[in-house]
Amino acid sequence: MSNTPDIKVSNTPEGVEGNGFFATKLDSVVGLARANSLWPLPFATSCCGIEFMATMGSHYDVARFGSERMSFSPRQADMLLVMGTIAKKMAPILRQVYEQMSEPRWVIAVGACASSGGVFDTYSVLQGIDKVIPVDVYVPGCPPRPEQILDGIMELQELVKSESVRRRSSPEYQELLASYNIS
């Protein structure tokens, strides 16, 4: 047994500790749980999808972040990763997948195409998925390396940790969804 544990343990959230009890905010506990079990729904259409496959592999091992189970269905998925060029013809399908996910849900746009249309400044390509669905984290790169995808996921974890449990019923969030005509 070495003294350096191989297991990464999350830090206890801020709270009041005493003899035999520990009190903290529900927000932080729920956030902690959500952030460390982001189940991905990969929506991979091009090269970025291949990079994500590498991220899933043993070398980069996205499972370390609690993203062991890839869900190729909107059921039980929290994190929609859009990877690759989204043609305008594909936009309604992407939107449908997003609408079928249940709250809480987060979206990462991986790579230049998903974020802005990338080099495909054409009549047939959607110029960034944020035209049809709200996006939480953008990962730059063409294609981004697996490290960058992991960085994007860690960035999202920070966001999820600090999110209020009630955020999704807040008027701002409703307004955001309404601006995309998603009810």
Partner: protein, 173 residues
């Protein structure tokens, strides 16, 4: 015995007269022009004649010539291949800009189905008699025909475009 281009040309001229014109040899393919109203007959003849035997439709696609006169703005190019003698032939038919219509060849080659749909999708050329002439690659809501040379290739919906970064301003300041 190989199939000579002169044989092909003579047979076509004898049968169709003025409807087949402008025979020329481009690289190693005999190329000619067909009047728009007889493409189907010419193709049927090329396919079913016992010496010509062009049994395979390699490709069918559209071209837009914006500088041509109105009557010759659009062209449909057909490539055919005779597998027996390994000879290829190419013919074009020119169409009017306001009314680009030509008869379908789906009755001769089933593969023409998607090729004609694609040509319609990108050029707006109408193939009369096609069983299901609708867009195949672009989205159905699209109103324009993107491969016509009057069409802006860039997406106009981009909000992050600044002409200065593309060398499109005179001063670049």
């Amino acid at each position: 015995m190989a199939l000579e281009t002169s044989v092909i040309q003579d047979k076509l001229t004898n049968k169709f007269g003025d409807n087949v014109t402008s025979f020329s040899q481009i690289k190693d393919i005999l190329t000619f022009e067909v009047a728009a109203n007889s493409t189907n007959d010419v193709m049927r003849f090329l396919k079913e004649d016992e010496t010509l035997r062009f049994n395979f439709l390699t490709d069918l696609c559209g071209v837009h010539y914006p500088d041509n006169e109105k009557d010759r703005q659009f062209a449909v190019v057909y490539h055919m291949h005779n597998w027996v003698d390994n000879v290829r032939v190419r013919f074009k038919t020119f169409l009017n800009a306001d009314n680009p219509e030509v008869a379908t060849v789906t009755n001769l080659f089933l593969s023409a189905n998607w090729q004609e749909r694609e040509t319609y999708d990108f050029y707006g050329i109408i193939f009369k008699g096609h069983p299901q002439l609708k867009r195949i690659l672009n989205m159905d809501e699209m109103v324009s025909f993107p491969l016509r040379k009057e069409f802006p290739l860039e997406d106009s919906g981009r909000t992050d475009k600044d002409d200065r970064f593309f060398g499109r301003t005179t001063t670049n300041s």
